[in-house]
Amino acid sequence: MTKVKPSTLRLGIVEMGRLGEIALRVVAANLQAVLGIEVDFLGPHEVPENAYQAHRQQFDAGLILKHLSGCAFPKYPRILALTNLDLCIPILTYVFGEAEMGGRAAVVSGFRLRHNEDGTAVSIDRYYERLAKVALHEVAHTLSLYHCEESLCLMHFSSKVGQLDKLHILFCERCAFMLQTSLRNLAEEFASRHRKKPVKSDKQKAREARPGPSLRS
């Protein structure tokens, strides 16, 4: 398992619903420590109305992502929403989190992480650990990482909390390398897009406004 080198990239975290400040801080600390990126809290954010699926009494994670990725947080190339809502997607009965593959937004829910498969409640530490693991997994998807076959890697797909508990809170060497490459490329791309254009002087502006020599005699 390998640690990712620090990056200049910033990730914004929004809270949807009520997850609690400590949970937010734990997730942010783990993202900073494992991914080596800057993390900022962007405050609470409303749940998009269309995300609620009345017939399932759940929230469509895909629709939350669409809403998030359209939000204007210009300084943040990646946005993570943390929520206490029960998430699903049209084909799956539930998801712990969802992300746009190589896209901007990810969402993670603590709804199904508080209990074990047999219904017993877990300690608050274990709950925070699960939350951090799912957040790292989903953010890595936004950085174009696929599911990994390495059984202990954070990118290994876990459909149940028991499987999630077995994962290390680190990426395997291969995934760490891919993450690093992806983070570097994203940082360069983001920097070049937001580089300030040189300010033109009044003289330069006047020169450009003057009509050029006419070809007509």
Binding site: G62, I91, L92, M101, S159
Partner: protein, 452 residues
């Protein structure tokens, strides 16, 4: 699964399609979507998918109909039916029609993961199986010998064994069975493969010429021998000497050759100097040499010296299953040589080729293919392109004059070829079973007796 795994998701509901595609892409699969059965079938024409998710209810072409087409045309693709409505009947129907599994929307995450893993594992096994079969198919071409029939596989194994030793080999088999190819294969597989392979057809020379060809001659050995010449025995030094039609060798020369085999040395015609030789001898004959020994036309001691290992090369009529492979092998060759765009052979034409006795064996088949390719006007060889086989003089010389007798004989032969299987024979004869039964009754044929 060669390279990245390819998955097709067919569902008319955009959100379901996007959701499943997105989920599968996260596992690194190459996933594409189709909004209906028609689009899916179009996409399948241009790309092969390892796994296909098919919604059962779609407005244009339903999932079950697409499934039928997938199973018929792309049997190696795995298919999973998906539906929003729980119905045991549709599930059973889908499984009956060959679906690999069945899922009801929405699925449990674990259910989907395990299913995809299980099916891709199965697909991997299928692909490995295909690779193994291809490997066996490459075994069908052994050196230049083509054949996957049991007798040819036995022959290939025997060649492997025989090639390891240096003993003389006698190949027995009818004309045109490919005895020289077997000899070449033995040479190519032996330790002597870097030495020369020297063939000579003993039946193609007069006695004196054969002697000169085999042993060589010194200058002035006979009228016209203005220069010394190496014989085939000398040329074969370090390699393999293949004496075809060994039964044609005159008795006197049999003694000379026996001496060469015993003493490993000889002298050229008209020469006195002993020349040491080291070669492996492979001989071939279509004659019954033991009978020739009885008749005194072949030396017993020479026969035993040659016949250390005896291999029988089977006639083509004993390996009719190899005919399609052989026919395609020759088609490829003649297509290249003649530069004609003949791309294949129709099944009916292959059936016809398999219904013929091939008295001239593989050579006759080779000639038939050459003639058919040269004269063919279509892109695929048809029955008509091979009609000449049954008209040529090489076929059954006792052909009856009466049409009735001819029909009876033809039915008899087809029934024998099909081991008395009426359906198969009716198929080849292009009549229905009832008609064939009536003919059998009419000519008082017994299908079981005709089975060979």
């Amino acid at each position: 699964m060669m390279g990245r795994i390819k998955i097709l998701v067919v569902d008319d509901e955009l959100i379901v399609r996007e959701s499943l595609i997105g989920w599968l892409r996260k596992s690194g699969y190459e996933v594409q979507g189709a909004e209906g059965g028609r689009q899916a079938l179009e996409m399948l024409k241009t790309k092969e998918y390892d796994l296909i998710f098919l919604d059962i209810k779609m407005p244009d072409i339903g999932g079950l109909e697409v499934l039928d087409r997938v199973k018929a045309d792309y049997p190696y693709s795995m298919a999973v039916m998906i539906t929003a409505y729980a119905s045991v009947e549709t599930a059973v129907e889908a499984m009956k029609r060959g679906a690999n599994d069945y899922l009801m929307k929405p699925f449990e995450p674990e259910q989907l993961t395990l299913l995809v893993e299980k099916l891709l594992q199965q697909k991997k096994l299928i692909d490995e199986n295909i690779l193994l079969r291809e490997h066996v198919a490459t075994r069908m071409r052994y050196e230049n010998l083509v054949g996957s029939s049991e007798c040819m596989q036995q022959l290939f194994s025997l060649i492997e064994e025989v090639a390891k030793v240096d003993s003389p080999v006698l190949l027995r088999g009818e004309t045109g069975t490919g005895k020289e190819l077997v000899a070449k294969a033995i040479h190519a597989k032996s330790e002597r493969r870097y030495g020369p392979f020297i063939p000579i057809n003993c039946g193609a020379f007069t006695e004196s010429l054969l002697e000169s060809e085999l042993f060589g001659h010194e200058t002035g050995a006979f009228t016209g021998a203005t220069r010394a010449k190496k014989g085939r025995l000398e040329m074969a030094e370090g390699g393999t000497l293949f004496l075809d039609e060994i039964g044609e060798i005159p008795l006197k020369m049999q003694v000379d050759l026996l001496r060469v085999l015993e003493e490993k040395k000889f002298h050229r015609v008209g020469g006195a100097k002993d020349i040491a030789v080291d070669f492996r001898l492979v001989c071939a004959t279509h004659r019954n040499l033991p009978r020739e020994i009885e008749q005194g036309t072949f030396r017993k001691d020479f026969y035993f010296r040659l016949n250390v290992i005896e291999i029988e090369v089977p006639p083509l009529r004993r390996r009719l299953d190899d005919i399609p492979a052989l026919a395609h092998h020759f088609l490829d060759r003649f297509r290249r040589e003649t530069n004609k765009p003949v791309m294949g052979i129709q099944q009916k034409a292959l059936d016809l080729l398999q219904s013929y006795d091939w008295p001239g064996n593989v050579r006759e088949l080779e000639n038939a293919l050459e003639r058919a390719v040269v004269l063919s006007k279509g892109r695929h060889l048809s029955r008509d392109d091979f009609a000449f086989i049954f008209r040529s003089g090489t076929t059954d010389l006792s052909f009856p004059n009466s049409l009735k007798e001819m029909e009876k004989k033809h039915i008899e032969r087809i029934l024998a070829m099909c081991d008395g299987n009426i359906s198969k024979a009716a198929g080849l004869l292009e009549v229905n079973r009832t008609t064939l039964h009536n003919k059998i009754k009419k000519y008082r044929l017994k299908p079981s007796d005709t089975a060979s």
